[in-house]
Symmetry: C2
Subunit: 469 residues, 2 copies
């Protein structure tokens, strides 16, 4: 555990008892991901000395965290961070006993588009033939791999089905790529901000993320410097409607970046899971691997179809195929046979579903921007080129405070630091375009009320207060 985190707890606000202020500050670190579930808290004595508070204050603060479910105390092994809910991923904010009328803005995942049921039912025409097999296709069924290869070829990147490895969703594909490319201690260059799942996948292989800030666009001088300094073996990129900023990397930058990566012998892992969610009608460049044939490309149906269909894939250069396949079967034996049928059925005529999804995101984008302009005019937000989210800039570095205060207003938020390996972006908040449009005004009302609390210094809720909604 990096001791710097604990110094970030200072200064403790003076408007509540010190133990409560300390407990809330630690909870804030857990909530925005700076310390993870299972992380060990310093001994009471160590932390008291580091922060210059009494040991009793630390003891009571730890007691508060344990009582509210945010920490566990174990005989002989000290106190460790816990995440209180039984139902949610540790990468998302966890609110104990979340009320069902809460609005969750932390995930960018929508309901299935209207055409999904018909696609699923028509895919069952192939069921009898599929049931007459062992069902295992560790690298993907040939019918689906051919469709995926054709999809790349049609976008200007000639692809053989043998280059495609299908996985149970894009998160698994990202993890397979990290396991195939990185050894413990290796460095990998990432944008800051970036997709939190990629940060987790880098952590699991014990590699180290080197962050390059991405503000209004990619900073290629920064990339060049990071590549030169870090000698990274790999990079993780989202050039097509970057998560969370929604930016599309211009063609000229792609060419320059491909050149830099080649020059530094750094293999790009290119996450193209959002490439179909083109909101601004931009002309789409060819997939990144058309510029850099060493790239591993990652795609998925979860964003353009539905998250319940767990189909992701990697498109590999031949030199990496053995390594990727070896890791893929060590992490799982492939995707659901049913989901693969659904995916093939989807690819027969993807346009109607894609158009419905893009229309829905576009409508949501309009309503968000209108409501935010009226109720929270001090928040800056640009219309994204594409993707699933708005990347809002707050007028102060209060994203984690906002996320903590949100529970009292029945909101779940994803604070900015969750989206970067270096835990910066404390002035940012990601809002999902996937929220059903009819809920958006209500969500903005609650955001405005929460922001009001933050501005007026209303302390975030504690145990026995509205955290346990």
């Amino acid at each position: 555990m990096d001791t710097r985190h604990w110094l970030e707890l200072l200064p403790l606000p003076a408007d509540v008892p010190a133990y409560l202020a300390l407990a809330r500050a630690i909870r804030g670190l857990a909530m925005d991901g700076r310390v993870g579930a299972g992380a060990r808290l310093p001994s009471e004595r160590t932390l008291a000395a580091a922060l210059g508070v009494s040991r009793t204050t630390v003891t009571r603060a730890y007691g508060e965290l344990v009582a509210s479910g945010w920490a566990r105390a174990r005989q002989g092994s000290g106190t460790t961070i816990a995440l209180p809910s039984g139902e949610r991923a540790p990468s998302l904010p966890l609110i104990p006993g979340l009320r069902t009328d809460a609005i969750d803005l932390s995930a960018a995942a929508g309901l299935a588009p209207a055409g999904t049921e018909a696609i699923i039912r028509s895919s069952l025409d192939w069921l009898p033939a599929t049931l007459n097999s062992a069902g295992y296709e560790p690298f993907g069924a040939p019918h689906l791999r051919r469709r995926i290869a054709d999809w790349y070829s049609a976008r200007g990147l000639v692809t053989d089905p043998g280059q495609v490895v299908v996985t149970a969703g894009a998160m698994t594909a990202v993890s397979v790529a990290m396991h195939a490319l990185l050894n413990p201690g290796d460095r990998i260059v990432v944008d800051s901000p970036t997709y939190p799942g990629a940060i987790g996948a880098i952590e699991v292989v014990r590699a180290r993320a080197v962050s390059v800030p991405l503000v209004a666009g990619w900073d290629l001088a920064g990339w060049g410097e990071a590549l030169r300094r870090s000698k990274a073996r790999a990079a993780y990129l989202i050039p097509d409607f970057h998560n969370p900023t929604g930016l599309l990397m211009p063609q000229a930058q792609r060419e320059d970046l491909a050149g830099l990566l080649g020059q530094h012998n750094c293999v790009p892992v290119v996450d193209e899971t959002l490439a179909e969610l083109n909101l601004a009608g931009s002309a789409m460049p060819a997939p990144f691997a058309a510029l850099d044939p060493r790239a591993v490309s990652i795609g998925s149906l979860s964003k353009v179809l539905w998250g319940g269909i767990r189909i992701g894939w990697l498109r590999c250069p031949p030199a990496l195929l053995d390594a990727v396949r070896t890791r893929a079967v060590q992490l799982g034996l492939g995707a659901s046979a049913l989901d693969q049928l659904v995916a093939t059925s989807y690819f027969e005529d993807p346009a109607p579903v894609r158009e419905e999804v893009v229309r829905r995101l576009d409508t949501a984008c309009d309503r968000w921007l209108q409501a935010l302009a009226v109720r929270l005019p001090s928040w800056q937000v640009a219309r994204p080129d594409g993707g699933l989210a708005l990347w809002v800039e707050l007028p102060r570095r209060a994203s984690s405070e906002l996320a903590l205060a949100a529970a009292a207003h029945r909101l779940v938020l994803a604070p900015g630091p969750r989206f970067s390996a270096d835990r910066t972006h404390a002035n940012r908040l990601r809002l999902p375009l996937t929220l059903p449009p009819e809920v958006i005004e209500e969500a903005v009302e609650r955001l405005a009320a929460t922001w009001d609390d933050v501005l007026r210094g209303v302390p975030a809720v504690g145990r026995g207060e509205s955290l346990a909604l």
Copy 2:
């Protein structure tokens, strides 16, 4: 790469040119898993010196391997092992251009039982409600977790749904457990033989497997010694119809083993994926975690229903739940929503499907044993207590030779060394009870013909011969 492997190449048979003998011997190492895809071959000079052959012999042998697809040569990085097929998992034997009339005895996975289609179709009654959600359930849908918890409780192990984490198949569950419990360099005790997928999952986290031989049953003195000597943090067990031996661990041994594990503070990962495949009608003990509450239990529907439904799970003690959940979401975002509906539908009335599967395995077992007794009486094989396989003992340590020679007879075999981390069991062969019964006599004819070739010293096929069937 462990240099010991290369010395295992000696002595080279003298009945073919030395380069061909060397190429075949290296291919044998790749085929039975002693060297994996991507492993680097020694430099030609090093290997020539180690084996006492000319450098020209090694050069020609490597050329032969490259030409037949079993190795790749790359500028500046030497020659690496490759696996020639585009379609199969690297953990399975790979035959380039395998003829479709080949019989694959390397995997123990059957066709879907007759009731599967009805279960799938009836599960779609819940589809509209499911589509009206984001589809992501990173730890499993509540409906399924409740069923799985009830299944444990009914078997004598009281379980809360919150303890269950659903994954996209049991292989992913095994990988999640290894990632949650082991750090690089840690030791884990395993049986020899054991499930090859577990060996792969141990390898991916860079832990070290400590093998305890399992012959006619578990050797608890051996386990005690391995635990004491290795200070292993974890153990991997298959007490219910062990893969590949089919043994059921007696209750008294379970109690003793649980005691030993507790005494050495070693957490058991208990693979119970075969527990429902009771062929001998044995009385089933409660799940192992009823004896050792520190155990992580792993289950799956792939064996008792169908491999195309990718549903596995972990049942965790509360102390490990945070770590398991963290690793689970770093390796994937959960199982298919459709497969989870199918699984819940299956659990409504599992008996008919299970009885059909067990009946089919039983019939296959009879036919295997009869045909083997007639055509290969020198092979020893016991009727298994349960599970999916026969663990055949050959009268000599010729399992890998047999697997190599099998291609000429349109057979794919899983040689014994593939089933152990220490690559022993060269006198063993696993045969699948999942083979459709009507094919078994033909499979035994081909096995007998292959065995004949091995006895007569017919060399395994090389490039341009029948390997490229």
